[in-house]
Subunit: 121 residues, 2 copies
DNA sequence: TTGACATATTCCGATATGGGAATATAATCT
DNA sequence: AGATTATATTCCCATATCGGAATATGTCAA
């Protein structure tokens, strides 16, 4: 198996930094491809390709207006990312000592399970 | 240019679901490769390879204990992910109407810039 | 129709992937 | 030393990537 497609899920889609930038740009309001192109300073086909990926994972939607394609962010698709990352928030917001202690305790439990030779205490 | 390496940054590293699972497992305390292997139900070389990626981006560190390699999560490296995703939190926590309105307003500004022909109102 | 503009798609190539299989390294035991 | 256990590395390959260049599609204007 090779690397999962970028269109597999949101996590894969946002791995590419330019796609995150596009998301940032769209967060300020719907934009046409040309505008995104201008902000990102990358060629038009590249922008279209990135937008396609974002569309496939549901992060953006398109609407036609004249010859323009206005893209809209569907930020709710980012919730899984936020939810997942949020579970680790305590690791940098709380003072670290308690976390470290807890981790060390569990760690010694773990090593005891697999390496009983290296006696505890 | 091809796709960025998985070791380029945290966003690329966590795109792979098994690596996120490893992170989840390590969040409960340090673990040896064998334990991770058991939880993920994937072969040992695969685990080692994933751990290598996580190490390269600083998400985990290793410590030797006998023949074991105990891996520890360095969750603080996930802060950028959380910070980035958090900026969109309002999009799903607040009631959507205001957000939508704001987006639509900006959108019409945008389209007016590039497509004055399709004059609004 | 012809032309200009906005965007999408196709083709190309260099590159990295992730898993499996085999092998290497390291630590420990007998 | 030899055997066993734990983990890492190497080799292989099918696959998808991202950007660039070229081209296709679609919309509006003269």
């Amino acid at each position: 198996m090779a690397r999962a497609a970028t269109t597999t899920d949101v996590f894969n889609a946002i791995a590419e930094p330019r796609r995150r930038t596009i998301i940032d740009v769209l967060a300020r309001g719907d934009q046409a491809v040309g505008q995104i192109m201008a902000r990102l300073r990358i060629a038009q086909p590249a922008v279209s390709k990135h937008l396609r990926v974002l569309r496939k994972v549901g992060l953006v939607s398109v609407r036609k207006e004249g010859r323009l394609r206005l893209y809209r962010l569907n930020a709710r698709e980012l919730k899984p990312v936020h939810d997942w990352a949020k579970r680790f928030e305590e690791f940098w917001t709380h003072q670290l000592d308690r976390i470290k202690d807890r981790a060390e305790k569990k760690a010694s439990d773990a090593s005891r399970q697999n390496a009983p030779k290296k006696g505890p205490t």
